[in-house]
Subunit: 143 residues, 4 copies
């Protein structure tokens, strides 16, 4: 495992909210990242679909860690802002968020993520995110 992946998996393991969602990181590459979780009735909104906030959570973490795959070694990454469009009800056996870096800067990294519901092996696009991440270098706090 490369060093950047190790750093990211270690940080992810400290995100206890990801454990609460039973989320796992299923791909870590330079510039792209994937997080998924299984359906759970504990994540539902009023109609039994998965709550938009839970889907947003894995898209946000996926965007942040996608940015981190390209950041300086000692940098932490925080979310500045994101925008999410909900495209279809979050109905499925499991859910996956795939994030990609759209533009990498020294301070800011722009990422896009799509989220899919998986039912009987078929993926359906349910949400999309456009996000801005900031690199925090320990010696020079910025935000």
């Amino acid at each position: 495992m490369e060093q950047f992946e190790q750093k990211i998996r270690e940080s992810f393991s400290r995100q206890s909210f990801m454990r609460t969602l039973v989320a796992t990181m299923t791909n870590v590459s330079r510039g792209s990242l994937e997080i998924r979780f299984p359906f759970s009735p504990q994540l539902a909104q009023q109609n039994g679909f998965i709550h938009a906030g839970a889907i947003t959570s894995i898209m946000d973490s996926a965007c942040g860690y996608a940015a981190m795959t390209l950041a300086a070694e000692d940098a932490d990454v925080l979310s500045v802002e994101f925008k999410v469009n909900l495209l279809a009800p979050a109905l499925g056996d499991s859910f996956v968020a795939r994030a990609q870096v759209k533009r990498q800067g020294r301070t800011l990294t722009i990422c896009a993520a799509d989220a899919f519901a998986i039912q009987s092996g078929e993926e359906k696009l349910i949400a999309t995110m456009l996000a801005t991440m900031i690199n925090i270098i320990p010696s020079e706090p910025k935000r």
Copy 2:
């Protein structure tokens, strides 16, 4: 309790994700709504702050139910999209999201929400949301 509040509290009680966050609805008025939850280590990101996704979740539900306070009696409300700016680390004893309807339409309702961290009784603005909600009338599905 007025009928619209009853309908909203009943819908909220079906949002099991809100129970997972230990969130409660602390104000329901025509055009505005408040949801809060206490700090829990199970909602944290890598630095021990509350995950942006958890804060987003209560802002999203607060916006949706704020829209519902003004919607037709038999309408359900779904999130079309939202944009969130994270303004400060989510560090506190508890967290509150306050949503307000910015413009009510027949089909779409635009809402704004602010989220605050509360520490030793003092509130600090930590995030802000601008969201679009859609009214779903059972007889005429729209999205």
Copy 3:
């Protein structure tokens, strides 16, 4: 020229703001659309780059007309909301916005657009948009 293209070109010709930007529609296909304009010092911000608002304008029109390529024949399309990330200074000989429909619904259509600066024939990504459009059917005003 197909009927949907004719309708869109006729509507575009009524957007006098596009004439003010000297913008032209250079591609109209089912689900995708392209608008471009040449550099003009009259569209600049304080550093001589093209103003973000001018780039946003062609991305917005491109998203709206991309949605219209898939809408009912008598529908008009209006912008509900959009989010833009500015990725690099708008510096070039000309600028092009390319929009695609991401999800088409009966009432709402979600579109994404990228904007590029073209200099000496080379394209550089300068901005990206995620937008929500609403179909307005004359007999049933909705927004």
Copy 4:
């Protein structure tokens, strides 16, 4: 006139796109800013309303200069991203954008703006923006 206002008015005067819109800056205070323009048929979309891109342009400039009222003396301000909700048709004799700083940081400043159409002296809310601005210090380019 205070020095920050002088600096902002000088920068605004270099935004030739604002002249193209016949826009003027009608208030400059610490943390808030106002820009307006009169109706002109040259700024219209297909139905004769003002194009969303023109309204966005004055909201964007208003947000940027609102951020600049609180920035370091030698800092320039650039737009990182913004999100706009269009709330009503832009129909009126003139249009005004009012921006306020929502949170000021060393690197990033978050601003909100509302835009109003003015008809027979009455203001109507037509759009709202939530924006992220970045402070650029000449000696330390950041974006």
